[in-house]
């Protein structure tokens, strides 16, 4: 009796656990989940960066003063600063030094640049204390007294940034849906294969009076396990991928490149919400796999003999 208790403490699954199709499907689900998680993580990173960038850009405007013959650049810069700081809703205004302008152009024009030899426009960064109520119309009008001065509200940038981010997020979500659909289709084929392989088991279960629900439950349980394991493996690899990419971008790229990558794409930090959604893919994909399998089994059973 003791021996019996030990040997039968956990009944053997009616659908055999070890089958080639099960391992293949688990690998496929792991790969699909990895792709889903990377897409989702990418979408989250881009959305986070676009939002942060849009907010940053919205908190400041730029006065650009182009060199005009006969005009004193330094005097014009000081005048523009004064006009800006007197405008409602402006926190402060600061003209970029020649060195700062050189730093800005370094990633595009290279090191050792001497701007004094070039006749380039100078910039004044105007920080807004209250972006919604800043009187930029007045500022723009008053700047007309300075020859070569113009106000850049970054509207074009913001619109382009938002539409680019929107397009990437939409493409990412579409990609996610397609990957999940492909996973479910693979599950349908794998389930059909499993049903065909295990047809003898299905027939025996029917002959001893098992209902379709019981048979479907047995297969669903098997596919839930496969889906859960596969999705977990895929999600873990995706999280490792993001950690490695974060480390790569901050350690391997030169500092200036790393900074530019950060400015353009943000850091590779998903944050709690990103990690949460990637982990949420595990039960979602496992559940969808089990549900698809159950539906396929029910359909298969309804088509076989009386």
């Amino acid at each position: 009796m003791v021996e019996l208790k030990q040997q039968h403490s956990k009944p053997t699954p009616i659908v055999p656990e070890k089958s080639v199709s099960g391992r293949t499907l688990m690998l496929l689900i792991a790969i699909m989940t990895f792709l889903c998680a990377v897409t989702l993580g990418g979408v989250i990173l881009i959305q986070k960066s676009a939002l942060a960038w849009s907010q940053d850009v919205g908190r400041e405007v730029t006065i650009q003063i182009s060199p005009v013959e006969g005009e004193l650049m330094d005097a014009n810069l000081r005048l523009a600063e004064t006009i800006a700081e007197a405008t409602k809703g402006v926190a402060n205004a600061r003209a970029l030094s020649i060195e700062e302008s050189e730093d800005l152009l370094k990633p595009w024009l290279g090191e050792g640049l001497d701007l004094t030899e070039l006749n380039i426009p100078r910039l004044i960064i105007v920080r807004l204390s209250d972006p919604a109520n800043a009187d930029l119309e007045t500022l723009e009008n008053e700047l007309k007294i300075i020859k070569g001065a113009s106000l850049d509200r970054h509207d074009v940038w913001r619109t382009q940034l938002n539409s680019m981010a929107g397009t990437i997020v939409f493409s990412g979500v579409l990609g996610l849906v397609l990957i999940i659909l492909a996973t479910l289709l693979a599950t349908v084929f794998a389930t059909r294969g499993a049903m065909a392989t295990n047809r003898e088991i299905v027939d025996v279960l029917h002959f001893i009076g098992a209902s379709n629900r019981f048979v479907a439950k047995e297969f669903q349980g098997r596919f839930l396990k496969i889906g859960f394991r596969g999705a977990l493996i895929g999600a873990i690899f995706a999280l490792i991928f993001f950690v490695l990419m974060g480390a790569l971008s901050s350690n391997i790229l030169p500092n200036s490149s790393s900074e530019q990558v950060s400015i353009l794409f943000g850091t590779f930090s998903l944050g709690i919400i990103g990690i949460f959604w990637i982990l949420m893919l595990v039960p979602i994909i496992a559940g969808l796999t089990a549900f698809t399998s159950r539906m396929t089994v029910r359909r298969f059973l309804s088509q076989i003999a009386w």
Partner: protein, 219 residues
């Protein structure tokens, strides 16, 4: 318990396998089903197992008209029927104990509840020491006894057996039929399909005899 009235059966558009078959079987009776190869014994057993629908005629079992029942109800009724296949049809990845316990597992019983019953039944059919062996390690006779144990573990009202002695030696055949007779004495209705005339002579039970063209003689 079982009523067949002018039952005919054909597969698809093929010829009729069974023609105008009519008979009735009382609860607690024992019948042999005989006939030459291809006469439709297995098809008749499949009708009795509710895994085929008659193409014509009416068929009732357990007081219900089978021809009009829904699939799920048929599966429920099937739980009152045990079946022993000629080729055993044990699940290879399960132990003898688990194979025999399968009908109870399907009924939703936990191992704790059925463990003693299954063990007792396995001892009764002489497989007490083989309960942890997988079917691949069992002899033909052991497999057949395991299949019989699986068929009767849920105490079916009807036990169907398709050539249960086809794969065992004559001595074991006789023992198996004594086993069926014992189950019949305990109240189970038994129908055994066989083509072994020696068995029919040894056991004095009524016989449903199928002819080559799928008609039935009762005798």
């Amino acid at each position: 318990m079982i009523e067949f009235e002018n039952v005919g059966l054909r597969y698809g558009d093929g010829p009729e396998v069974l023609k105008d078959v009519s008979f009735s079987i009382e609860p607690g009776s024992f019948h042999f089903l005989t006939g030459p190869s291809g006469s439709g014994k297995t098809s008749l057993l499949r009708l009795l197992l509710l895994s085929l629908k008659p193409s014509s005629g009416t068929m009732s079992m357990f007081g219900e008209d089978i021809t009009n029942l829904k699939r799920e109800r048929l599966l429920e009724l099937r739980r009152h029927i045990g079946i022993v296949f000629q080729e055993f049809r044990l699940l290879e990845h399960l132990s003898t104990f688990e194979n025999v316990a399968l009908p109870l597992r399907v009924l939703g019983q936990s191992e704790e509840n059925y463990k003693d019953n299954v063990t007792e039944l396995l001892e009764w059919v002489g497989l007490g020491d083989r309960m942890h062996a997988k079917p691949a390690l069992l002899s033909g006779g052991e497999k057949q006894r395991a299949a019989i144990a699986r068929a009767v573990i849920a105490r079916p009202e009807i036990l169907l057996a398709d050539e249960p002695t086809g794969n065992v030696d004559p001595a074991l055949s006789e023992r198996l039929l004594h086993l069926f007779a014992e189950l019949n004495r305990m109240g189970t209705t038994i129908i055994v399909a066989t083509h072994e005339l020696n068995m029919l002579k040894k056991f004095d039970y009524p016989c449903l005899q199928l002819t080559e063209n799928g008609e039935l003689n009762y005798g």
